[in-house]
Structures are given as structure tokens and as C-alpha cells.
Amino acid sequence: IGGGDPESADTSGTVGNVDNQGQKTTLQWATDPDFQGATWNKELQPILYNNGLSKDIEVNVLAGPSVTDNRRAQYQQWLSAGRSKPDILYMDSGWTIPFVVRNQLMNLSQAGNFPKSRIQRVENQYFDASVSTAKGPNGDLYAVPLFPDFPTMQYNQNYLKSAGFGQSDFDKWATDSMTWQKFSQVTKQAMNSNDVQYGYTFQASAYEGLSCCDFNEFMSSWGGAYFGNPEKYLFGPVGDRPITVDEQQVINAIKMVRTFIHGSNANNTLNKYQGNIAPAAVMQWTEEPSRKPFTNGDAIMHRNWPYAINISGSEENLGKDLGVMPIPYAKTPKQAKYPMTGGPVAALGGWHNAVNPNSNNKEAAVEVLKAMMSDEFKYKLFEVLGFLPPEPKLLTTNRAKEVPVMGRYLESLRVAGENAIPRPVTPVWPAESSKIAQQVNGAFSKGGKPKQAMTQLKAQLEAIESSA
């Protein structure tokens, strides 16, 4: 079964070299259906040519499934079978690393036509969290982030206004969000002063989204972590790192959520928090079911990805009444036990591009990645598809601010991006993720016992870690 071969160092390759051949090279880019058709041919590809890509290189979009698991399954299939197409692979930051670890992606750090300067630019200017999920254990770069994704807390200003909050609060929260405690009070207050169905909606179904993201945020914002110090252990070494899910701050995070759902009178809840602000339904909600009531004005607070900002913030929905702030926190970074935790942490999403090591056109593929790194391409992506630029500095420019809807909330997004925390993705993460989701979801439920669940989870994670 084919793996990546490091012999890809086809050093002599330059753009000119490809050019000299006078032959068209057609590359296949497996990517999201969003890129199909005119979007690519008319709007995005021309930008590449404007930014140094030879006209002899043509990129065809191979639209695959948008559902991330399905895409991963496809790649696993293709790469294991050693297929040479597609040349460029669009990869979830949540599962790029296992492919790297298995040598199934081309090492860009060793690619002849991907100079050190480029690598440095990625390392220095891109969101750190994103870059960390595109690198191998040896620190080499295997993928170039195309766009990142950070959840934020979105809210309906109307309800908060009638609860006595005002624009100044909103402005402040935009970059400097609040503690969970304050959050619960604000939400409760707004619920009391409005006739609204739901207070706070988020996603707590037993699925990947809970372990990678929603719960990861709750936990990290309490200063907790799955595997001890994220700076050291986030991506391994598997089997040789602490497992810290049974620490008190993790348990507290669960108790806090239990309070949100079941009220502080229920077992295993926290007193200082306002309870009953989230419906029990969150326990079976994923993104869309949780978003719908919010977009429709039936909820006050809602945690979701930037795509939801675009929808809820559009004119026919909440429009300007949509407020956005970074995710609230329980502990500040200083108070938090581990680095990278505490404060308005945001789970990292987003997608990278990597090169198929079996491709017959690796050089040309690298050229394409390089052209995609141009600012103009990133802006265009933001404008056309609403995908955030992967560099914090591009979020502060006027061009970015002019992008409809999303342009209004760039500051919040930047803060989120700077506090982003990747999931601890390793080859065993899928197994760990489902255990985490199960235990956490179980602990959230009415009769859940956080302490016991986390002790169990620790044992389960230990078993997984040790078996790998």
C-alpha cells in the first residue's frame, strides 16, 4: 500500500521550467463543491494566474463530499491505493495530521520549489493553531492552511437591549468577552425580560463536534485539557502523555454546562451560575438544529462557526441585530493551569491544502499552493465564499472589513483565531473522540455524574493511548 515517498525532492523545478515545456499541465484539486463551476473558473482561478501561476497550469476542481468524514474516507481510500490523482487535496485541519504521520502527504519543507521563505511566512504570519495542524512531528510543513474556522458566541442584540444592555456593552464584548458566570446572568436576564423560547443554544450531541469543539472550549476555558499541557502534548506522543480529563477544572466545566441545562438545583451543578438557560435539546443538537432557532429569533445566545454569522447576520434574518463575541471563559489564561487554555478559547476548524505524494505533477501542484498563498486570493476567497483569511493581519484591513456581514465581526473573529485551540488530533483521536463525546454527553444528561464519567473516560483514554 503506497505511502508518501520522500524522493519527491525534484529540485530543479521552477515555474520557468514548467513553462519551457510549453505543455499544459492539468491538475486536479479535490475540494469542496463550493469551489465548483464559475466560482472557480471565473472568479478564483484567474487570481492565481495574476499571482504568478503559469497559464500552462490548469486546475480542475473535483468536487467531493462536504461532509468531512466522507472526505476523509475518500482520501484514505485513494492514498492507500496509491492513486496519482487528485494532485492537490483539500484537507480538514482536524484530520491532516494522521495523514502526515502515515507519510501520505508530500513534505512541503523538502519540496524544491517551495522555498524556506514561504515556510517561514506560513509559520510566522498564519494563525498558529492552524499551522500546528499542518505540520508533522518533525516540524516540517505538509500542508498550507487555506482558511481557518473559529466558533464565536453569537447573540441577538434585540433581546439583550430589552434586558437593559446597550451598544457599548456590545462593543466591549466584541473583543473582550465575558466569563461564563456573567454570560449565564446576562442570558438569564434577557430570558426573563423577553418572551423567547431558548436562552443559549449550542451543540452537545454525542458526535465529533462535541469532543473536538464545544466541550473542548468549555474545558479549555476552565483551564482544563485532555492530555495535560497542550503545548507539549497536544499532538502526542501517544501513550506517553498525561491524561487529565479527571481534573477538577474539567469536571467543573461539565458541572457548569449541567447547570446551564438542568438548573442549579439538579445534582452536580454549580451554584454561582444561572441555570436553565439552555434547552435539554442541546444534548441531541448538532450545528444546524441548534442554529435554526437562533437564526429565526427564538434564542438569545448561540455558539457556532462563522458560516452561521453569514446566515444569521443576513438582512432577511437578524441583520445588524446579530452580535458576535469570542467564546466566554471561566478562567483567564493566567488563572488557567495549562498554557493555551483559559480565556476566550475557540476550537479550531478550517481546511488546508496538501499535495498528493503520488502525483505526477507535484511541482506544478506546489506552484498552485504558492499562488493560493497570495493575499489577493485569500481576500477573494473571503469575499466570494466567506472563508476567513488564514492570517490575522488580513482580518484588520479595510478590504476585509468591506466584506458584507462578516466584515462587521472581524475583530471578534481575530480574537477567536488568536485563542484558537486545535483538537488533539493523532491517529488514535477518532477512537478517543467518540469516547469523549459519549462520556461528556452522558455526563450532561439529567442523571449524569461528571466525576464518575471523567474517571471512566480517563481509563478509556488510557487504554486507547496504551494500545496504539
Binding site: I1, G3, G4, D69, R72, A73, Q76, S80, P98, V101, R102, N103, Q104, Q197, Y198, S205, A206, Y207, V238, P279, A280, A281, M283, Q284, W285, P289, K292, P293, D298, P427, V428, P430, A431, S434, K435, A437, Q438, N441, S445, Q460, A463, I464, S467, A468
Partner: protein, 327 residues
């Protein structure tokens, strides 16, 4: 002309075709049987048996999560042992078998699902087939109506039931909760979810049963009912003594394949509740296969699943063989 006529005709056609036909006609029953089975066996050999053998080989190797090679070293039956003793449960989405939590371990969930859904599908499918077997105006449209669920793709079937039981979308959660049937979040509750899955499966695949049983009903020689009627059989007696025994082989085939299908349930789970909530045997196969690239484990679970199915369906096989021999 007369007598030699056929002879002439026969000899006019000659050559390899006639030779081949003659050769085939002269084969003994056994030879002929194997000849006719050749294409099927070739196809299955290439597309089914060979891959299965190769997968079986995979099941004898350790998982390799990290390296570039898909498989680790040869470990013999260790994967099977680890799975059956529960040693590998940690790496599975849910334990393979855990009597303490029957609704959260793959084997028990699968068996509960299979027994219940096949039972209801048989009853409902038989009922539908009996209705469709009647002659009435508009029967064709009723038939469309009954077939429709079977034609619905699993993704959509999943979506239908997923949305029906979403608190802010569907309309079934509150009433069912008020009746005390379901919890307020049925899709995060293993028991409720299993019930929903069974209902969804019965909805869709009863049509499968109905179609096969209907075909069986249509093949019954109508004059036997005349005999039955004259002999004084009530409708029910006709059903029990004539219809039922004569369609029994069809019913068994339908149940056999539904049982196999139910024991491999996956797609519906994935689209309605997810394998975390309702783990089936196939869930274990797919999650280890797609998620973690635990190919050895995955292959071993696949073979264990197949073995379990084999054990369960042997009940039918015995019954089926009975009806075949006219017993």
C-alpha cells in the same frame, strides 16, 4: 416432407452452436448444475470471495495506526481473541459485548434491533402483501404508495426521522414525551433512539417483505382456493391451510434477507443518531475502518459479524430446507 422434415431442419443448423447445445444437453444434472453456476461463481469469486479472503488475511495482522504501511505484523487470531474477550473494547466506539449496558454494546443492540425489526417487518409486510393481493380499483397506486419507502435512499430516510425527532423542528418529541414514552431528547437516549431506528426501519423495509411475499401470493394456483372454498374453508382457514404453507418459502427468503440486512444495520444509525448513541456491529466495522484505519481489527469484526449472522440465519436455512423438500 412430413417425417424427415424436422430432421432436415435440425441438420440445417449446424456448427459450433449446435455442438455446444448438444454438449450441454448431454451433461448430467450435476455437470449441468455446475456449468450454470459457473458464471455466478466466477463473478462472486472475483468480486466477493477473493476480496473476502484478502480481508480475512488482513484480519490476521495487527493494526498500524501510525506508519505508512496499512497493517502491522502478523498476529494470527489475536485480533479475534482480543475482540471476543473485550480487550479491544477501548478502541471501539462502544464495547463489542457488555451485558451491563445492553443498549450500548454492539452485539446486544444488533440483536435487539434485528429481532424486533424483523418481527414487525414480517407482520407489516405480510399485511401489506395481503392487501395488495386483493383486486380493487386503484390497486396500482396503493402499490406505489407501499413501495415508496423502500425506494427512499437511506440518507433521506435518516433525515426524515432525524428531523421528526428534533425538538425545535419535528413535532413528535413533545407529545411523545408528555405521554411518557420518550425522554425529552430521544436522539441522545440509546433506548429511545433504538426504538426510533426500529420504527424507521420497519417503515422503509416492510415494503421489501411485502414485495417478496406478494410475489409468492401471486404465484399460488388460484384453483386451490376453489377447492378450499368448496371444502368449506373460511377465509382464515384458507389462509392458514393453503396460502400460508404455499408462501412460506417466500416469507422465509424475505425474512432471511431482512435478518441479514438488519444485522448489518449501519447507514440509518449514522444518519439518525450516530454510532455513539446506538452502536451496531457494522458501526464497529465502519468506525474502525474509516476513522482510525484499524484495518486488522475492522476486518476481524467484519468476519465475526458474518459469523454471527451465519449462526442466526442457520435457523432459517434449516426451515427453508424443510419447505424445499416439501416437509
Amino acid at each position: 416432407m412430413s417425417t424427415t422434415d424436422e430432421g432436415v431442419r435440425e441438420s440445417k443448423r449446424s456448427g459450433p452452436y449446435v455442438a455446444a447445445v448438444r454438449w450441454m444437453e448431454n451433461l448430467s444434472d450435476t455437470q449441468f448444475a455446475y456449468l450454470l453456476l459457473t458464471p455466478v461463481l466466477l463473478l462472486l469469486g472475483l468480486i466477493a470471495f477473493w476480496p473476502l479472503l484478502s480481508t480475512f488475511r488482513m484480519s490476521l495482522f495487527a493494526d498500524n495506526l501510525v506508519g505508512s504501511e496499512a497493517l502491522g505484523e502478523f498476529v494470527g487470531l489475536q485480533n479475534y481473541v482480543a475482540l471476543l474477550t473485550g480487550e479491544r473494547d477501548a478502541l471501539l466506539v462502544r464495547p463489542f459485548f457488555d451485558p451491563a449496558t445492553p443498549f450500548k454494546s454492539a452485539l446486544t443492540v444488533t440483536l435487539i434491533f434485528t429481532v424486533t425489526s424483523v418481527f414487525f417487518e414480517t407482520v407489516v409486510g405480510f399485511g401489506q402483501a395481503l392487501v395488495l393481493d386483493q383486486d380493487f380499483r386503484g390497486r396500482r397506486w396503493i402499490r406505489v404508495a407501499i413501495i415508496i419507502p423502500w425506494a427512499v435512499p437511506i440518507v433521506i430516510q435518516g433525515m426524515i426521522f432525524f428531523l421528526l425527532f428534533q425538538p425545535n423542528i419535528g413535532f413528535l418529541v413533545d407529545p411523545l414525551q408528555n405521554l411518557g414514552i420518550f425522554s425529552e431528547t430521544p436522539l441522545s437516549n440509546s433506548v429511545d433512539s433504538l426504538i426510533i431506528l426500529i420504527v424507521a426501519d420497519v417503515w422503509k423495509t416492510s415494503a421489501f417483505m411485502a414485495l417478496i411475499i406478494l410475489a409468492g401470493l401471486q404465484s399460488v394456483d388460484r384453483s386451490l382456493y376453489d377447492v378450499g372454498r368448496v371444502a368449506g374453508a373460511t377465509k382464515y382457514q384458507q389462509f392458514r391451510m393453503i396460502t400460508l404453507p404455499l408462501v412460506l418459502p417466500s416469507v422465509l427468503v424475505a425474512m432471511l434477507f431482512r435478518t441479514i440486512g438488519a444485522m448489518r444495520i449501519y447507514g440509518l444509525i449514522e444518519t439518525v443518531v450516530g454510532c455513539n448513541t446506538v452502536p451496531s456491529l457494522s458501526c464497529l466495522v465502519v468506525t474502525t475502518f474509516r476513522g482510525s484505519r484499524m484495518y486488522g481489527t475492522s476486518a476481524a469484526i467484519a468476519f465475526i459479524t458474518a459469523g454471527l449472522i451465519g449462526i442466526v440465519v442457520s435457523v432459517y436455512i434449516v426451515k427453508y430446507a424443510d419447505t424445499e423438500t416439501g416437509g
